[in-house]
Subunit: 214 residues, 2 copies
DNA sequence: AGAACCGCGGTCAATATATGACCGCTGGTC
DNA sequence: GACCAGCGGTCATATATTGACCGCGGTTCT
């Protein structure tokens, strides 16, 4: 209700307005071909004002990445709260994964390049660390699901965690990459989701104890 | 989407924020005992800023009156769009009238003093004219209802328009004044509404053709 | 190759907006 | 009638915003 409070609130609003504007632009054009001027216009500000809120174009980009990565990690982590079965969690996880990156190709591109150790731009040190840390935490969720599945007797106890984690991870990225590369559009997302789901179910069958029981 | 546009929009937002803040204060304390500083605080601005948007306290008050009067007139005018019967319109009109002024005592006080030609403050010339004009238009709605009633054969054709208009108008104001004066509160509004409705129905019976038919 | 040019990220003097200490007046108190 | 308190309104100061401008890296022209 105060006066200081109002200015603070308005400052935050400006910052998020810039982020929202920039996010849409980066999403559809990529980092390089988005100009600061265009961000300013979309945020209904002048170019100079952008620099009152962020150090520069790169920092804006960094914030967007951080937001997206954290949001993604949160969505994935939520799966562990009330797991029904390990298989189910894996399937949901994949669905979230695919959905997220089909809506955020730019982030996907960044993360893939990160994984391949060929980043295409210099991000600030701490952002780099954050990305690596959060990505690892997210990947480790898959491992945790495997552990949970083994504990519940759902998966074979002899499962190689790292190997299987990498397999799932790779499969997801592969399918997404393939579809993005071949230019499939967002409104065909269901096709991709079905492809992933089908592949995953076969994969899960391969590592489940049910197979052994027969 | 533009930049000029954003600033214009924000200016309007500030103006309405001030008006909203001021309205609440005026409503509960009356014109004199509301300080500009208190309006500024409620609108989360400094006192000086208020004067960037309005010439002064009086102008703010004037705008509030204008808004309220126009809104009131609109609500009353809407009744003429799809009239069911003249009696029904009169009853609805009275209900809106009472409801409106129970929620806006300050405006009621002003308008009554206007009608009695004893305004308690000097308002700008054009505001004065607007109030008089709009008030007359609103009063004339009652006359139009009578005319409509006569045309539909609902009321006696010999009805004296001005006399009956004044009677209704006076009755409404009288009942509201009485209740405001005796300190009845807003949450007892139903009692006032029922009083008005009962009185009005008797009045309408008095001027309706149905009586003659018996 | 290198000259000439262009477009962009980033800067900064100029402008617009917001603030609150201050002024003069008024109405009340002793 | 001298004092005071409290208010509406002002204005020098502080903060926020703007867009013309700068320099640099990349691209085209000769």
């Amino acid at each position: 209700m105060g006066l200081e409070e109002r200015r603070k609130r308005e400052r935050e609003n400006r910052k998020t307005a810039i982020l929202r504007a920039a996010r849409r632009l980066f999403f559809e054009k990529g980092f390089k071909s988005v100009t600061v001027e265009s961000i300013a216009r979309k945020a209904e500000l002048s170019k100079g004002s952008i620099y009152l809120y962020y150090k520069g174009k790169e920092e804006i980009y960094a914030h967007i990445l951080l937001n997206d990565i954290d949001k993604f990690h949160d969505r994935i982590s939520d799966l562990l709260i009330n797991p029904i079965s390990a298989s189910e969690v894996l399937i949901r996880l994949s669905s979230i994964y695919v959905d997220f990156f089909l809506n955020d190709r730019e982030l996907f591109r960044i993360l893939v390049r990160f994984m391949l150790h060929t980043p295409d731009m210099n991000l600030p040190e701490d952002l780099n660390n954050h990305i690596i840390k959060t990505t690892n935490k997210t990947i480790s969720v898959i491992e945790q699901v495997f552990i949970y599945g083994i504990e519940k007797g759902e998966f074979q106890a002899t499962l190689n965690l790292r190997l299987n984690r990498n397999a799932i991870w790779g499969m997801l990225n592969g399918i997404i990459s393939l579809h993005l590369f071949t230019g499939i559009e967002k409104n065909r997302a269901d096709i991709i989701q079905n492809t992933v789901k089908a592949g995953l179910e076969i994969y899960i069958r391969g590592i489940s104890t049910a197979l052994q029981a027969r």
